[in-house]
Symmetry: C3
Subunit: 425 residues, 3 copies
């Protein structure tokens, strides 16, 4: 998928009112399933999942605050952000003073509507621009939230691409945010594009599992119901906020030195764009659940500008204008580099380890000596030979040599072809 | 004790002529014993202690150099620094040329009197301002040191505050320097204040042992006579030069990564004032003995400006003007932070380690979601949950989170209260 | 040997046409053997050595390109660099266009003649200044290379200086380059001077083995034929490019933390001149072979300006003007410091480890106390006592103390003399 195609997917999904359960989420998954063979799972309300319980399903048809003239001053139809996500139903007339505590605003950004939720405490409320709320005059207001909270199911999407081994790479995106573009329709779009690329590969070493889930409760539900899969997860990434113009930010797994952490760091070192590496903190996205100490999975989080660190975060300003086709393409390219490392890494043995083997007679080394510098390919051969002792992986060697992984992988292939390199036991 | 009270104690002790044995040291301990229930120990001269022997007891009544007119040109009554500490007695008349080699001066600071000692080689001498010595005219001088070196005892003070466990925290101060204020009456005053604070606590986890001892021979004597206590010392600090205006300097124990080293480093990181961390060097104060390789105790040394690094060090200029009430208070506050870490640190187990437990239904997490930043208390809860895996202590977690230890300790208490945290085995 | 004497040796060897086999190499070894009792070894052509085979022996009497008037426009007699090293014989007349592909030049340095080789692919060629080649006019040229490639032997020189133990220190220089001064006649000269100094020592702890070998095939041949010696090599250094005006560059062994790596790093820290430490890379000199993973010997490479990093490298400009007597002397002095560490390092036990022993009564500590700083010798005594716990070597202690190794070694000797220090088991 091109950046423009990823951006078109984001635009298609943007208007839907998603939440951690309900039709909005389900419709989002259905649209993703048109692009990749996604399975849509449903877990009934009330199901115990780890320390939590799958909540009742939330659906909403309409919501507004209308003034005494009947004019909708806050209107769900204009933006689904206007309703406190997971609001209980309400239908009442009340004076402004009584309504006021139910209105969430952003005083520092008076034209933006905040995104607020109340999933686990029953409440109703509206989110509105500070400017709008300031303009409300005393008097009675009609308050309507036409929502339902009823037994139903928590939906999520799961796409499994089998590989040569049952060892898995997990890619997880939260899909519960309503009209917010960078957080996290960008993650969904890049994940779909990555999955389509993997589907097109002739062979995969790892099994890849893509999850499109509601935040927190979704990963908890998945973890609770996949005790058999959890031990097979070798590498994992949470994707979010990968469409803005910022440089990359990679937040390491709780382990800090998991292979995926090293693979992403390596890919970033050669990406030719600004990036930041951060240690794990127990706040953020669903890596919080995957990395909780009872699981401690090797799952990091790839972002551009992180959650909470751009002003438009969790506001109506996180709209389509924030998401760029080029940024999406760059994120996809980086992920493909990471996948190349994960798929191609391994430990090998130099089969002629005493002294350098005579590469020249095997056609792997130039005939004329004496030049001040060795060609890059020959240097990569020497690196692979020198450190293929069963202890160093190709990624170790690439890092030590300061060379991009594909150069080292190509050298290893050439040496294996010349019977100079074998699999480490 | 306030800074002013600590400074008053220093002023009270300042005039006494202390040495490594004798009445001056004994009187100092008696005055400390008025403030805390100190035991004064006496170890007889001649007692073998490790590689050393407790020396004869030194006492002095008077000492002077008088010119031919009978005028005292160097006078012990003016300052006890004027006599070479531990001088043998002398009563003689001699020409200036013969006297000269017995006069110690500071050419670079011609108005200051140096502090010099000769504990273990019999010698007599005077310390004087260079300016005074330069003004001496040829001629005969009366030289009197009315001292005694006789069998007696080495005195030291010991204060033991029992705790819930027999594991000990050692706080050691040298108390052998005569009229020198920062080195080390400041250490004595802060130690007394710290002890009084610990006495006032309703409970202590550790047993605290405060030592007020003569330098080198005192710690050697204590170590030689407390073979039963040595193995119980879990943490230790030598205090010296903690009253001047300089930033903090912490010299790590020989181990370098002992818990006390980490606790002090943590406290310093959050002290809001300049500080320096240094690796152990085998020169300095009594940590030299505690950290000698046969003991290798986890004992560091807290100072402000270290020994030898301020011009007034070991001179008459290390007087009361160098010691500030605010600096003493700051040193005491830092030590209290260190004690809080030592008392409060521990390893715990997240009892709901698979995924995050649902903190909201336990009243530990805000109901409304979506804000860009988590309240600090909730973030501290997540840190404690995420890393309470039995391997990370609360101090580890505080360091990793970049949060002050008390915030992490409070979070741990809240989680324990909610039955989400238990003791690690 | 003085710097001037080392430079004279370089000047003596400079005109000889060396290669990886042949009379030039043999004559070079003979001249070295006049200065040190070198054994000259001969390994027959065709001998299998690891993955390689000892090649036929190359000898050359004359070579030139002459124009139609008979004038030699490229002449081996003027510089042996003019012939592609290991050229097959040729005697032909050919037009310029046919000759051209056999002419090697340096377009960026039009007055310099490059050094090029073709050891393992049969070829003939000439190396010439770009300016000379550009001036050639169309027409026929007489091309003569009066060389032979015939069964013979590979020669190398070996000097073994027995020590108290069979453990060995290897010093290896390549001796195959023709008229190139810094690379590597400088290495040869400094190695000879180092060997003469070691010969003059009354005793040596280690056995020292100096090799003067052709690059790559020489070290491979030596490794293949000394399987008994290889396991005894405790430390090793390859020497090259040690005569230019640049700062030192030390390239660590593949292990990276071998004792020789630490010894050289220590010596460099105290050398008082600029230096650079680099990690091992599998390109360079014969350390490539010694450090190949099947051997992984603790062999580093000492240089000033490294191979390929000075413009004159592998050109006619690497001549005697590049090599300075002072630089050679500095390189020799550094190597002597390294040898002092290797010879003198060891682990000891403080025999009085509980508290500090009383150094004063043993005459090792000044009688008068109180000065702001301890004399350096006394401080070194304290360092050795504090860390001689069987785990820290004297080099460890010197590094930790920031003191030069000889100061720590002298302190250890004094303590051993006072029965305060013993050998660690």
């Amino acid at each position: 998928m091109t950046g423009a195609e990823m951006r078109a997917l984001i635009a298609d999904l943007y208007p839907i009112c998603r939440s951690i359960t309900g039709e909005g989420l389900r419709e989002t998954l259905r649209r993703i399933a048109k692009l990749v063979p996604l399975e849509i799972r449903e877990v009934p309300s009330g199901t115990p999942v780890l320390d939590w319980t799958v909540p009742r399903e939330w659906n909403i048809r309409d919501a507004f605050v209308a003034d005494s003239s009947g004019k909708r001053v806050v209107d769900f139809r204009a933006s689904n952000l206007h309703v406190l996500n997971y609001s209980t139903p309400v239908r009442a007339r009340m004076p402004l003073a009584e309504l006021r505590p139910h209105l969430h605003t952003l005083p520092d950004h008076p034209d933006w509507v905040p995104y607020r939720t109340s999933y686990y405490a029953e409440a109703w409320g509206f989110c509105a621009a500070q400017r709008v709320v300031d303009a409300l005059t005393p008097g009675d207001y009609d308050v309507v939230i036409d929502s339902t909270l009823e037994p139903g199911a928590l939906s999520y999407g799961e796409l499994v691409l089998p590989g040569a081994t049952a060892d898995e790479v997990l890619v997880s995106c939260h899909a519960c945010h309503p009209s917010l573009a960078n957080d996290n329709l960008s993650g969904i779009a890049v994940a779909v594009a990555l999955a389509r690329g993997l589907l097109a590969l002739p062979a995969r070493r790892f099994t890849y599992r893509f999850l499109f889930i509601p935040g927190t409760i979704g990963s908890i539900t998945w973890l609770a119901t996949h005790a058999d899969v959890v031990p097979r997860i070798r590498h994992g990434l949470v994707l979010s906020c990968v469409g803005d113009a910022g440089g990359f930010t990679y937040k390491r797994s709780r382990r800090g030195d998991a292979p995926v952490d090293r693979a992403v760091a390596h890919a970033l070192r050669h990406v030719g764009a600004p990036y930041t590496l951060r240690d794990f903190v127990p706040y953020g996205y669903d890596e919080r659940q995957y990395c909780s100490p009872g699981f401690d999975l090797p799952v990091g989080c790839l972002m551009r500008t992180p959650n909470g660190e751009y002003p438009e975060y969790h506001t109506s300003a996180d709209d389509l204008s924030l998401v760029q086709a080029g940024a999406l393409e760059g994120s996809l390219a980086l992920l493909r580099s990471v996948v190349a490392v994960l798929e191609g890494d391994g430990r090998y043995l130099n089969l002629s380890p005493e002294g350098e083997p005579q590469l020249g007679r095997r056609g792997l080394y130039g005939a004329t000596g004496g030049a001040a510098r060795l060609p890059g390919f020959e240097l990569a051969l020497l690196w692979v030979l020198s450190f293929s002792d069963g202890r160093h992986s190709l990624l170790d060697i690439a890092e030590r040599a300061g060379l991009p992984f594909p150069a080292i992988r190509a050298a290893a292939d050439a040496l294996a072809g010349a019977k100079l390199l074998g699999e480490a036991p």
